[in-house]
């Protein structure tokens, strides 16, 4: 594996690696020691070539006739995706979506941990949600530094999205995942990923319509 190339892994490959790992962890839990590219492919609904190509890109090489060593591959993907010390994450907006995400992470062994939730509703501040304490969104900026938070997930209402984003950026956040349908602005040094559920649903509707 050439360290230099890891920087240039395609976005899509990164996404798939995350998914491969999850599938592999399941296999590992079931006692499977080796896996073929076409088995991974089947689970993920993609082609075996694509799996092999992704694995090639990260510089791993399987054994002929036995496929890939599950454990080794899990470790290697971890080296690529994770940081050694892990990263701290904050959820901004403790509505249903924020709680869904927080709850999903409960007990997951992962290098990403949600260490704080934020909301402006006084009823929520001070409470714990799935083990994560909710703080006043007014304290967001200072707590990012204090708790060494690198990533913020925005799950507030669309109207508050810009404000939440601003606070995150000013607090020195490094990456933002915005689940609001309202696009937000970040300076170039902050990595931004946006996802819009309504758009996805409308996309499904379009293809249902035209099929």
């Amino acid at each position: 594996m050439d360290k230099n190339n890891l920087r240039h892994l395609p976005h899509k490959t990164i996404e798939r690696l995350s998914q491969y790992r999850r599938a592999l962890l399941l296999c590992h839990a079931n006692g499977k020691t080796h896996i073929f590219s076409h088995e991974i492919a089947k689970i993920q609904h993609i082609t075996a070539v694509q799996v092999r190509r992704d694995i090639m890109l990260i510089g791993y090489t399987g054994t002929l006739r036995k496929g890939y060593n599950v454990e080794e591959l899990i470790v290697l993907i971890g080296k690529i995706l994770d940081t050694e010390e892990g990263l701290n994450v904050a959820v901004v907006g403790v509505g249903n979506l924020g709680r869904a995400i927080t709850n999903y992470f409960r007990g997951k062994r992962t290098k990403l941990s949600i260490v704080a939730a934020f909301d402006k509703n006084p009823d929520k501040i001070g409470k714990k949600y799935s083990g994560v304490e909710c703080f006043d969104i007014a304290d967001l900026k200072s707590l990012i530094k204090q708790k060494d938070i690198s990533i913020g997930i925005i799950t507030v209402t669309p109207e508050s999205a810009a404000e939440a984003c601003k606070a995150l950026v000013e607090g020195g956040i490094k990456g933002i995942l915005n689940y609001t349908p309202k696009p937000v602005n970040v300076p170039p040094h902050v990595y931004l990923e946006e996802y819009d559920m309504i758009t996805s649903l409308e996309k499904v509707a379009f293809f249902v319509k035209t099929h």
Copy 2:
């Protein structure tokens, strides 16, 4: 606009059209009658060329120096994305995520309506969530037909995803949006879109790490 070409609109263009429309509706509400490609671009964080190209693909043409007519464009995008009668949607799994989605749709004027929610928890069955009644997931198959549901959104736990998907398919669903981290299998006549929040978060983490 050539009807034949609409079938071949790129996936990415479809997604952006949905987003343009939402931005345009906001502008319309603010009394704006015309808009330039670069204005739309700014809102969506993309380039003006891309906006113009998308609009070209759907066969609309703006006026020089004044840009696009907001209202006309909204109507045209509607003709492309929506069906005349609208489509019915079901949410399968009334956890936090299911409720987040259901709630988000409350009162939205749209051609997509969530007409039923499903869960297996007896405490939830019979209750209403954001105005949507929750039914027993055991009745999913029959209710799809009865309520003419075209699209199913899967928000159950990963363990129940396959089962929920199977019921949807057997009920004759036409499109599925799977928010479970567990990929599901559908026959070729069912349109499937999957989104995995964990993957997105891990992707952000990766780019935070490498930047």
